[in-house]
Amino acid sequence: MSYPELKSLESDIATCFRCSLCKMVPLPVFKKQEFSNICPINSHYMFHSYSASGLGYMALALSEGRIQADKALADIVFSCRTCGYCDMACNFIMESKRNEINMTLRETLVREGLAPEEYKRTMQNLKDTGNPAGLTHTKGGDWAAGLNLKKLPEQKADILLYAGCLTRYDKNALLSARKMAKLLLHAGVNVGILGDDENCCGLPAHWMGFKDNFTALAEKNASSFKGAHVKTIVTVCGACLGTLKAKYPKYGINTGIEVLHGTELLERLIEKKKIKLTRPLNLKVTYHDPCYLGRQSEPQEEWKGEERTVFGQMKYTVPPRKINYGTGGVFDPPRAILKSIKGLSFREMYRIREYSHCCGGGGGRAEMYEKMSLEAAKDRIKEAREVGADYLVTSCSHCKAQFEKASSDMGNDPISVLDIIDIVFQAADID
């Protein structure tokens, strides 16, 4: 069996020299052993096969025909949460394609029919209902009932508020989305929604390796977005932001529309005093950078240029190819917002920004790997506690749900989990 997609990555795999830095924070920012490991699957399963380096070697073994595409391989590959940290870690040393290797291996196994049955059901749900959970008890636009938001494209607006499917169907998350809408309306923003016509962004398909389904959904969404004739799309959920802003272009789907996360717009509105954070909040908080709002939202620019060789064996590119260090994600706006709230005490965790620790909730059907995925979230909660926070704030519906689940499982030491929108809403003191 030949796998041309993997074959083309063999030379990139061969550059891995097994330093294991894909498993831990970049050494210059290392603070504490207890909070130094990052790869969720490696922290739990421990074996090297559960790491970017190991996944790469197994991809090479598959490509060279040393091993077969089988369940043993699939069990390892699909456990990865696709948080993308390994890419950042390796790029710290040299230009690498760790995330692309992981995703290509995953997509290869999907094509071989080795995706778990749960993944296949999720894909069917997406196809049938437009959301991965297959929920049909409400319509897609019900979350905004009574808010009098404009319905796009029938009505016109500058901004499309994109709720995302987890937000729309989760009873807690949709409250945050409603608060976001109220904040925007309060600030006089001309905002609309797609209502029942809003689809899932497609991230679950991307996560699980269903490349064709993802691109089909992305193309459909891109068409809806273009048809809405808005200047900007604002996502409530961090995961949607990364998908729309970075993954769509990566797979060749461009809308030409600015994509922002809610925190980016809120920060601008706070700066312009359209939203005033007047109410003091006496809270000790820390902030969790979601993977797809943070490092994974950094746009991966298409590079057009020439690769040349000099000094015998040194490759260089003209113009220089941009390396994704993950630093171009949305990191500062949430922090700026939190720091601007009176009475609020903000403290940083050890694994932040481009080297943030994953909540364990991504990658598709986290419940299939519940022990590992909750362990990742609990580890993060411990870290929040360690820096003295009473509240763990995030800006992604997936992360919030994951932390809430983990916290409820932590007995004596739970933590309160908040969406940053909830905090802004409180501080803005509006109804």
């Binding site: 020299f17 831990m24 391989l73």
Partner: protein
Amino acid sequence: MLTVDELKELKDIVGQEWVKDDLPTRDAYSIYYNSSSLNKEDKLWTARPAAVIMPKTPKEISELTKFCNRKDFMLKPFSTGWITSSAPGSRKTILLDLKRMDKIIDIDIKNQIAVVEPYVRAIDLQSELWKHGLNVHAVSCGGNHSILASTAAAWGYGITGASMGYQARNMLGVEWVMPSGEILTLGSPGDGAEWFSTDGPGPGVRGLIRGFQGTFGGLGTFTKVGVKLYRWDSDPEYEVHGGSPKYVLNRELPNLGVFILMFPSKKQITDAGYKLGEAECNYSDFRMPAFFIALGFTDNNLELKQLWSTGVFPKLARYVLTVCVHGHSKKEYQWKVKALKQIVKESGGLILPMQQIPLAAFDIVKPFFKMFKNPLKLITRIPFIQEITDMMKTSEEMRLKLLTTAFFILVRHANNSQGGFRASSGMFTSVGAFDTWDMGFEQADYIAGVKRPAIEKGLILDDGGDLGSGGTFDFGHLGYIEGIGEYSTNDPESRKATKAIVEESLHGTIERSLGLPIAAFGGPMNQLFGPHCYNYHEMIMKIKAKLDPNSSYDSWTYSGASEKAFPDEKEGYTFF
């Protein structure tokens, strides 16, 4: 191949989830750093292990060892598992990945000893030690290596060697699962380790099991090590700003400074190295080859190409020593800096201003450097040149950037990997013996000559030839410079040329009496070097035979291919 019953027996020892025998996992443990350059068939793959096991306790390892005494399998333990020496030497080898054993057992502040398990990385320990005003010697591959491995089992030379020696000397005690399965404690590693064993005077067992290079997992498993600590009188931690790949210190750390010293000749840099050691003012030092300095100045290979092509660096930075000065008090620090400046002056060197120099500046000075063979010789003769240089100031941020780069190399061991792999994806090492500081430069010159034909054919990277990296040890009483080169992991011809260089250099080392190189371990290497070095290979064979009569441990990186290995594996590795 392990039978079902054998697998069950292994799982009963460590628990079901900690034994893996599926093919994907075993292949994930069949590639290591430089395995292609060391493999006879030029393949990345080493032997595929029979299984991979993650034990948690010495007792479990003892049981696993007893299993291999009874069965036709061998164990090969490793900690962080970075380099090919961690690889299985046989398909009958069961790898012990010691990642679950990651506890800092004790930090004995008063006696300056730490006791750690195998997967405690240097940076784990260092970060804790700084809080207590202590530090540990780390090897130059970086802070992500295992302290136990470098102390008890493999090599052990690092950049802080000037003041902290090398790890074989820092080993104060070990807990050792012997090849028989017995658990032996040796040495006296401080108050908290709960063991005390006299060992010496006279020939010590610690010496027998540590040796010069180490046993590389070929003679049992070390499960704890007591390591000697050194003083740290600066801040317990630091903050950075910026993002990957360039994190920058927020400010300088107290009682700590880094200096880039440039010398016009080999004699001047070596003399200065001895004097710095005599004055004990080098906490750590690193002879930074010109190409690596150029690399550190740039963010991508295009910039590196532009900078290196100016020709300034090979002439200006041929003999550069980066030095970290650390004082136990402010006054001591000031005295040491004063001493360093005086030594540099007396040695005819120049302290480079600690500031990032814009690339354009190199284009401007390029014609001047082309005119002269050794422009630095002329520059250092300019009256008051150091004083003039000292007056050169740029922004605080520019200064901090360069300072940070040097700090991360010399003290924190945090960006070592960045230098070695960006340019061409692969790095090899060849000669490099622990000997005198002068000898290090002899080796560097020699390997530069060996590399030259391959450089001229474009088979390896043209780094100017001399990529000798190392420093002084024991305040100048010893020196070590490793003959490094850079190649492409993806070009078979480049890999082949690399092999040829390493092979030639090993033989050349003997012919020129250049000392015992870093690669001198494992059967074939012992056979090659032993006769020139007190027949140490015979002693190793005797030790192995006596302590491990049933070949319970895979010894391909220690005494040579194991008795239990398949016939094809006994010839399997080119150099080891």
